[in-house]
Symmetry: C2
Subunit: 335 residues, 2 copies
């Protein structure tokens, strides 16, 4: 009997009505298959936050100034951000990566050093980055996961910080899914109506100006961000190592979309941790046929959805490993 | 400045876009108001599972035999049920109450002894219990909460086990909310089409046979269950003590509805932990204008939704207490 069938049988004979644990049952099945075990164990959970700046932010598409990316990285390192609080709550090891923030950090800071530039170029009239830098981003992400896997980790979530990155993500979603831009863009960190219209106009023009091919690598280099591409490379590498890949909100799901376009086998390893309030995310999840664990109206990024959903993944594993069966508990099953 | 305004201000100046933590921000506000504190602390979380049998179960309205109530109580006491696993995961103290199971338990078992009868009478042709027994149920629930509050607990969830109790809950929902029965009944633990039609016919007849008043106490005695009424009394008492009241799925929300009809001030203290897959629950939550924290397709009862959502409540409290403010972290706020 295949592992999937054995897991289904184990789940069905737990002391509960058939299917009564809903999504947790699907999750337990997925984790068991990913780890090829009837008694899977989550090991050394990690969350990696990639930070980078975006040239497109200077076109007025964000409610916050670009310097907030740097400031928030320092906030992460000082333990003051939401993701610090939630990772501490659940004993998730947190790593912060400078994928390309527009500043020089003190080299003594406990920061993963993967800077490939000081922010991308604006993709309004040209590419965000060269093909070589895009490839370097993917390799950097994979390298980070290699190191973390070496520490025994088998479950990893990814977050991001980068003023302007909902613009990059919205355009990538539009061009990679063939969906109208207006269905993919939202208010990011909180644009008003005028700012929102400017964002839409800028991004429409950027797409109209694109003269390249539909190749995933060409599109990633042209419209991507350093943190989005490093995350895509990291997700791809984690899936290849049979790690459970926790997908956060809108930006992270676009990074997942990039990884999926490169190698669709990531699907089996991916857990969609929440549905963001950012407009495009619901449609993107629907397009990917993904069922999110949480729907809390979050729109913060940083990997916060991954951290908040993590205890549900633990619960799925725990019921699979610890609940009694009808037989062991001498409980009558449905007649 | 009132506590609510102070809390809102504290939440808004955390290092995140305004409202970016969605429902967790509403939850942090509610917890702060309930405990009248800008730095609330959750203390000694408890989950109480009330178990009882139902005369109506003998009319063929359940997929499982009545003896499963007793068997599941023993499973709870042996640590083998889902609620055991999830409470252990989150350090929630679990208490099991015999509110009226149709058997004699070994008196040595670590079971709360609040049995008021060996199952209710069938309410098909007469009342489930007398008004005196209904009043005793409410008092029993309040007494249990008194004892637990004495241990320093300020956050308490409630679950239930009782073969046939979705029937009692569906009828109570229908008569208390003035909603058509067919919108309130579901498949419980897993009825097939024929069994489901029988359930509907039996319950319609029971409502047609009722000749009493619309008084909440009369309706609870006629259609209620021992565990539902003890839970309602417990919820009412917990709210009066300014404890945070965690409401589980369909049955527990009907118990909440009963408590609400007795004293609507419970609303401010109640956290709706999940939306069950049981048909009537979505409509009931909508009727109560309640936003559930989780939507995982659970339909198990036992308080499992309370336990699974508990870490989100901790997260809400933790971000309120531990996150940096824009000022303390020197992060630029929205311009």
């Amino acid at each position: 009997m295949k592992i999937a069938e054995q897991l289904k049988s184990k789940i069905d004979f737990k002391t509960k009505p058939l299917g009564a644990l809903g999504l947790l049952e699907e999750l337990a099945l997925q984790v068991g298959i990913t780890f090829d075990s009837l008694s899977p164990v989550l090991k050394a959970p990690h969350l990696v936050v990639f930070a980078a700046d975006h040239g497109i932010a200077l076109e007025g598409v964000s409610a916050y100034p670009q310097e907030v990316t740097r400031q928030m990285v320092l906030n992460f390192l000082n333990g003051g951000a939401a993701i610090n609080v939630f990772c501490a709550q659940h004993d998730i090891h947190l790593e912060i990566i400078d994928a390309g923030v527009n500043c020089d950090f003190d080299p003594e800071l406990p920061l993963g050093k993967r800077k490939v530039g000081k922010g991308t170029s604006s993709f309004l009239n040209g590419p965000a980055m060269s093909p070589d830098i895009a490839a370097l981003c993917l390799a950097n992400g994979a390298g980070i996961v290699d190191t973390i896997a070496g520490k025994g980790c088998n479950v990893i979530g990814f977050g991001e910080m980068g003023i302007g990155n909902t613009s990059s993500a919205a355009v990538l979603m539009s061009v990679l899914c063939g969906l109208p831009l207006q269905d993919c863009i939202g208010r990011g960190t909180g644009l008003d109506d005028v700012q929102f219209q400017l964002k839409q106009a800028v991004l429409e023009k950027a797409i109209a100006n694109y003269g390249g091919t539909d190749d995933i690598h060409a599109l990633m280099a042209h419209f991507g961000g350093y943190e989005i591409l490093q995350m895509a490379g990291a997700m791809e590498a984690a899936a290849k190592k049979n790690m459970l890949v926790l997908v956060d909100g809108f930006i992270a799901t676009v990074a997942y979309l990039c990884a999926y376009k490169m190698d669709s086998s990531i699907r089996e390893k991916a857990v969609f941790t929440h549905q963001s309030d950012e407009k495009g995310h619901q449609l993107l999840l629907k397009t990917l046929e993904a069922k999110p664990l949480l729907q809390l109206g979050l729109r913060l990024g940083e990997g916060t959805g991954c951290a908040l959903a993590y205890p549900l993944i633990v619960s799925a594993v725990n019921f699979l490993n610890e609940m009694a069966s009808f037989e062991s508990a001498a409980v009558s099953n449905k007649s």
